[in-house]
Structures are given as C-alpha cells and as structure tokens.
C-alpha cells in the first residue's frame, strides 16, 4: 500500500469520525429541552467534529502533494471564538431567567449578568415611537 493510499484512508476515517460527532451534537441539540443543556451539545461539536474534518482536509492536501496549513488557523480561531459565543448564550439565558437561577456566589454580591446598578431598579420607560409634533 502506498503512502498516498494510507493518507486517503486516514482522511476518510477522519471525515467519518468528525461527521459522527457532528451528528451526535445535532441529536443533542434536538433532544434536550432546556436552553442551558442544549448549549452543551453544539459547543462541543465545534471542537472535535470540526477538528476531525479539518484534519481530514490537511491529510487530503498532503496526499495530493501540496501541503496546506490553513486548517490550523481555522481550528485556532474556532477554539478562541467558540467559548465566547457559548458564554454569551449562557449570559442571555441567565438574564432572561430562561433557566434555573444560579446559586449566589460565596464572596461577592451577585453574578455580573444579574448585577443591577443602583437607581436602575425600575426600567426606564421606552421612548415614544411617535415623535412629538413640532
């Protein structure tokens, strides 16, 4: 078996494993019934599912004789940005009380998402949609 065959089969295996993990992530997204637990499935797929697909892409480019390293950058950027979007979704669901309210932090007053500045207790009235006539 030539080296080219081996890398092709390895790439196929990576594609298979990667798409399997993505499938599991989609199942999780559909199956769970609460925003916070739903959040878990897709954020995980972003790591290993996409990682395996990109690894397949690297292997395939090597089997074609032209090395490509763009995939490393894609993986790096995904790993840096995925936690931030997950964090924002979590913050929104805490803020809208869409999930169980978290326990109080031991040393500080409250969580920063629930922190309400003094004098902000009453939400300001929404400005009138119709402007006053001059």
């Amino acid at each position: 078996m030539s080296a080219e065959m081996i890398t092709t089969y390895a790439a196929a295996l990576c594609l298979f494993v990667g798409s399997g993990f993505i499938l599991v992530g989609v199942i999780g997204l559909l199956k769970f019934n609460d925003p916070m637990t739903r959040l878990h499935a897709p954020t995980k797929v972003g790591t290993i599912g996409i990682g395996m697909l990109l690894l397949a892409s690297i292997l395939h480019s090597f089997s074609l004789g032209s090395s490509s390293m763009h995939e490393l950058l894609i993986m790096g950027f995904l790993f840096v940005t995925a936690p931030i979007s997950a964090n924002f979704i979590a913050k929104v669901s805490i803020h809208r009380k869409a999930c169980e309210t978290p326990p109080e932090p031991p040393r500080d007053d409250t969580w920063s998402t629930l922190n309400q500045p003094e004098g902000d207790a009453i939400a300001p009235e929404a400005p009138d949609a119709v402007p006053e006539k001059l």
Partner: protein, 166 residues
C-alpha cells in the same frame, strides 16, 4: 536598552504569533513573507499597545505548551463522554447543575483562559463571572457529584494556570 526594546516590542510573543499567523495565511513559506509577517508583528502591537494597560509580563511558555496538550487530550476524552451522555441518558434522568468555582486567579487573562478551557472541555460551560471577579459560574450537563467537578477544575486547570501566569 530594555526600555527601548519594550517600547518597540511591547508584546514580543504577540509579534511572533502574528508573524506565524501571517505565514500560515499565505499558505506557503518564503523569506519575503516571513519578513513582512515580522513587520506586521511589530506594527500591530506597537499601534495597539495603549489599549493593553497591564498585560502579564511573564508567561511560562513550556508550561503553557504542556497545559495545551493536557487540554487537547481532555477535549478528546470528554467529547466521547458527552456523546455517550447525549445518546444514552434520557432527558428525565439528566442531572444538570450549576457549579460555583471560587477563583484564586486574579489576572483577567488567566481567568479568560480558564473560562475558555472550561467551555472547550465538554460537559461544562462557563456561564458567568461574579460582579467582582472572585467566582466563576459553571454549568454542568450531567453529574452526580458537583463538588468533584469543581475540585477537578481547580486542581487540573486553575493550579496549572496559576503557575503559568505567576
């Protein structure tokens, strides 16, 4: 001399990182690309340095590399665990939980890396920070023992980050 060095290169590691990213973006290596990457690596940190008030001066690269390997391994292992939970545990038996992790880290950069690590390792998502930054709120997908998860985060990740950012 040292002052001139830090004036020109406020973040030497960022310079190297930017040069590496530039070379990777080109997808082929040549001396010209490397030089241009280094030029960008000097200009960008220099131009943006006023927005980086107090960055940690010393990061231990060797320990950071070991930490990355540990985290990558944990991502693979825990992905399989979460996949198994998704497929095998019915919704009614799922035990999600909030965990409060008291933080010993103080640098914002270190806390950011810890929160990112917690989110990337499957089964846990870092959700919020307390208003003065002394605790981290973590959501766990399925656990029987929330305290054990908290202790694992503290010993496995936070202790190592403390050494890296000391």
């Amino acid at each position: 001399m040292a002052r001139a060095f830090y004036w020109l290169l406020p973040h030497p590691l960022l310079t190297l990182l930017l040069a590496a990213v530039w070379i990777l973006l080109q997808n082929e290596f040549s001396a010209g690309m490397a030089v241009f990457g280094l030029i960008l690596g000097v200009i960008i940190p220099w131009g943006t340095s006023i927005w980086w008030p107090d960055t940690p001066k010393s990061i231990r690269i060797g320990k950071m590399a070991r930490y990355s390997v540990i985290v990558l391994w944990d991502i693979i292992v825990a992905n399989i665990q979460v996949a198994w939970i998704v497929l095998s545990v019915p919704n009614a038996k799922l035990k999600p939980a909030w965990i409060v992790v008291p933080l010993e880290l103080v640098q914002p950069e270190a806390i950011t890396v810890l929160a990112g690590t917690i989110t990337l390792t499957p089964g846990t998502v870092s959700a919020d920070l307390s208003d003065e930054g002394h605790s981290l709120l973590v959501h766990v997908l399925h656990t029987d023992d929330p305290d054990a998860v908290r202790d694992e985060i503290k010993t496995r990740y936070e202790a190592r980050l403390k050494e890296i950012f000391s």
